[in-house]
């Protein structure tokens, strides 16, 4: 008899209204991609070229070796693509905004190589905070960047000069 009563009560329950905004109901903030750039918004931060993490080179030769700004942009985008497809580190990229990353990484490379861009992204510590990146992940990313630079025909010594700017940042990226 008790079961019967309970079932009756159950049937009396109101079905929640169609189209309930569950995210709002549970306090989940939905980020909207920017309709123009396709990027997700990030928390406010102080914008500065210092966020790029190193002092740029000043060498027209080096910029030329990288195929100018277009070459650099292709290398940055390709590095992200290769990493998204790399089973070793894909999981780390899956949960992040790689649309933005392609742009900001390209800006960072462009700035560091002295190709005349400003870096508008966050500093390395903030961008990788809590990501759990290991040295093995770092090596995987370096290999993908090397592959991207090879595809673009960047001479090896020039490749190493970019890596020379990035390698010291590992302390801010890799979780101890």
């Amino acid at each position: 008899m008790m079961t019967a009563a309970a079932a009756a009560l159950l049937l009396l329950q109101q079905v929640p209204a169609e189209g309930t905004d569950w995210d709002a109901e549970f306090g989940v903030e939905l980020k909207q991609r920017d309709p123009v750039t396709g990027e997700l918004p990030v928390d406010p931060f102080h914008q500065s070229n210092a966020n790029a993490g190193a002092v740029p080179y000043d060498s027209a030769r080096l910029v030329h070796d990288f195929g100018g700004r277009e070459g650099i942009a292709r290398i940055a985008a390709r590095t992200v693509e290769l990493s998204e497809a790399d089973p070793r580190i894909a999981a780390i990229f899956a949960a992040h905004d790689t649309v933005r990353l392609k742009r900001t990484l390209s800006e960072q490379f462009c700035y560091l190589l002295g190709a005349g861009c400003d870096y508008t992204g966050r500093d390395m510590k903030t961008s990788h905070n809590g990501m759990g990146v290991t040295k093995a992940d770092m090596n995987a990313l370096v290999e993908n960047l090397q592959a991207a630079m090879r595809e673009e025909g960047v001479p090896f010594a020039a490749q190493n000069r970019l890596l020379a700017k990035l390698a010291p940042m590992s302390g801010d990226v890799v979780e101890p």
């Binding site: 009756a8 780390i92 809590g130 990146v133 992940d137 020379a164 010291p168 979780e175």
Partner: protein
């Protein structure tokens, strides 16, 4: 049971305001379970759970690794190869090419004749790696063959063993120790990285390692007759190694506190000479991810007063044919050995590392 259910149906219909309780006609199938019509009402919608099961995405790699089951049902891991022993990765690799160095004549990760601060094997922190090598040196009057194995624990510790045969060929007869007399040497090495990283971090902060090499000559009576004080001996080393990316240069320096005579082939020390501080260095230029060329220099004592030259030198080229196989070819100048001068020749070494 049937009673219960029909009564439930009745109750619910009453609650919904269907006051007219129909006396179920005999033709109609007896209602079996009350909620069946509700479930059926929307067919497919209920075939799927209301909320699609979200795959558990652990926010960070670290969390994912921490949550990994300790005992793998299958030792062959699914992600990235290698074996697994609990949480320890065996032979999984992960190092950048050539950053495990090649193998020295004493079986340590390094250049051909100079020890480096690098750790043998391709493992990353938390992993265990393995490195094997075979080396041959052909000189005008002597021949060297060595082989060995090294185990690397993370980026921290290297344990190595190497065995060397040094064939005196015709020189043996001339020296009165017999044609083709072959000296034997076993080297047990240990190396501990104490600071720094060969690639990452501050460009002026090298990877620094301390180590020992315990050597045991297999020719006790003979090396004593030649004047050596001991048959076994231990070298102590302090190494610093860095890849200067901006210049594509690999720089290495090692201080060795040793009493070895010709690496220990001719025993250790003498009546009036013991430990001395020696230096060995490497300068390499990285041509590509896979290729490096360079030169090495290593000073050594002449405890036995055999007129041995004060230093060995070589120029080398190392090439990583695959992620695992590295070959090294060098031109070595070992100066004067046991009164035979101008010992210059070829060095060839193969290393297989995981």
């Amino acid at each position: 049971m049937t009673m219960h259910c029909s009564c439930l149906l009745v109750l619910s219909q009453m609650a919904l305001g269907l006051t007219e309780v129909p006396s179920s006609p005999p033709s109609a199938p007896p209602p079996s379970i009350a909620y069946a019509p509700v479930l059926d009402a929307d067919g497919d919608a209920y075939a799927q759970p209301m909320i699609a099961a979200l795959p558990l995405t652990h926010s960070t790699e670290a969390t994912r690794r921490a949550l990994q089951s300790v005992t793998a049902t299958n030792a062959f891991s699914e992600d990235g190869g290698g074996l697994r022993l609990g949480k320890v990765r065996l032979l999984k690799g992960g190092k950048l090419l050539l950053t495990n160095g090649v193998t020295t004549v004493e079986g340590s990760s390094g250049g051909g004749i100079a020890r480096w601060a690098t750790i043998a094997g391709r493992q990353m922190p938390g992993g265990i790696g393995l490195s094997n090598h075979a080396t041959a040196i052909e000189l005008p009057d002597f021949g060297w063959r060595s082989f060995g194995v090294a185990v690397g624990f993370g980026d921290r510790l290297e344990l190595s063993y190497s065995h060397a045969d040094f064939n005196t060929r015709d020189a043996g007869a001339l020296l009165g120790i017999g044609q083709d007399y072959t000296f034997n040497l076993d080297t047990y090495g240990a190396k501990l990285r104490v600071a720094g990283d060969v690639v990452y971090g501050d460009p002026w902060m090298p990877q620094i390692a301390i180590g020992i090499e315990h050597k045991r000559s297999g020719d006790g009576a003979l090396v004593r007759a030649l004047g050596a004080a001991e048959v076994n001996g231990t070298d102590y080393t302090l190494s610093a190694t860095k890849l200067l990316l901006a210049q594509s240069l690999l720089i290495n320096g090692t201080l060795r506190y040793t009493k070895s005579n010709a690496l220990g082939l001719l025993g250790f020390g003498s009546a009036d000479d013991g430990y001395k501080l020696q230096f060995e260095g490497t300068l390499g230029y990285q041509l590509s991810r896979r290729a490096v060329v360079g030169a090495e220099y290593r000073t050594k004592p002449d405890n036995l007063d055999l007129g041995a030259s004060p230093a060995w030198m070589d120029i080398f080229a190392a090439y990583a044919l695959t992620d695992h196989l590295t070959v090294t070819a060098a031109y070595v100048d070992l100066g004067s050995i046991a009164t035979f001068s101008n010992q210059r020749g070829g060095f060839l070494s193969a290393q297989v590392a995981f």
